[in-house]
Symmetry: C2
Subunit: 211 residues, 2 copies
């Protein structure tokens, strides 16, 4: 078993280090974040860092890299106050990956990557038609991480759209039926094979498989 | 397609809401966070919110729920300054789920859930023997999220241990060979089926499948 100490890690070749460190967190959520600039250009970018923040009120967050280059997702959220989170399916994972190319401001990744945008009701930012879960959020707060100038961005869910047939009676969702993809690191995509769902764990009780 | 507005979401029945909102982020990383109190009790808890923060320096973070009940993971990190992140495999996913039961302070989830702890070198917090990726971190910073009193906790990677044979020449890691599990919501576990790895995306160039 190789063992890397902090001193070993920082000395690794740049791309080797990026590949290794990005992958050790495990399987990550795959989502497209949609935004819109005040000048009217929509933007779409893939993120592997979307996390659940809370259910009451409903909040989600994601990690945004340092603003050392132009980050349209960030500037658009600050201008517009809203963003959308759209789930990446295995069917669109290649188009979703293509959104990570460095398109200029004024160019829409929707068009360039072959994904359709849709405006729903009066929500000011477009959703991705091909995504099976579409979430519209209002920007709430940001936290600048001192250690490396990344940011945690947090939004409140204002609108949630997903297919009827995947929601079970108790609010559970079938992610396999939704064709949900996962990401390893920055470059590898996975489909999910369901193992099991378990009941709330209790001290001194055997774990209970629900289905 | 059902459409939930914010006002609909907050009125949902409590457990329905928790199930629904927790699952819409997609497939999430499955990790066991190990800590140790000053009084010497080790603690182990499953988290589905571990995120990559950066590679230079190597940083990882996770979301910690509000301190309305005793959170041993939090108090131990503040006491001890260190924690470990240990990857959940499909082989140990049931034991990992059991760590979410509310064990009292003074009780070690390692023993109660049938997972072996190991101390490596002089790192002050135990790792999980059964995990194929073991990461030792020093606590760096925390961010209190005003919207719901959760916290983003951030650590620097001081030690990284994983099997030789899964690291490719370019630093990439084979998560399927590692038996890495993913979590949907709080209760459903998945294995990964690899679809493909892609090159760095470039404007006006077709996406390139690496392997």
């Amino acid at each position: 078993m190789p063992k890397f100490e902090f001193e070993d890690l920082i000395k690794l070749e740049k791309y080797y280090k990026i590949a290794l460190i990005n992958k050790i967190a495990g399987l990550k959520s795959a989502n497209l974040i949609g935004t819109k600039s005040n000048s009217g250009t929509s933007n779409l970018a893939i993120f592997n860092s979307v996390v659940h923040i809370g259910a009451t009120p409903p909040l989600m967050g994601f990690i945004l890299r340092p603003l050392t280059v132009d980050r349209h997702t960030y500037s658009n959220i600050k201008e517009n106050g809203h963003f959308t989170i759209n789930q990446v399916t295995t069917a669109i994972h290649q188009k979703a990956h293509q959104t990570s190319a460095k398109y200029d401001q004024g160019v829409s990744e929707f068009e360039e990557c072959g994904l359709k945008e849709i405006y729903i009701d009066d929500f000011p930012v477009p959703f991705v038609v091909e995504s099976n879960i579409q979430i519209g959020l209002s920007f709430q707060e940001e936290h600048l991480i001192a250690a490396n100038n990344t940011r945690l961005m947090i939004g409140r869910i204002e609108k949630l759209i997903l297919p009827d047939e995947v929601i079970k009676e108790d609010g559970d969702i079938d992610l396999v039926a939704l064709d949900t993809a996962a990401i390893g690191g920055l470059d590898t995509y996975y489909a999910a094979k369901r193992i099991g769902r378990y009941g709330y764990a209790r001290v001194k009780e055997a774990i209970k498989k629900l289905d």
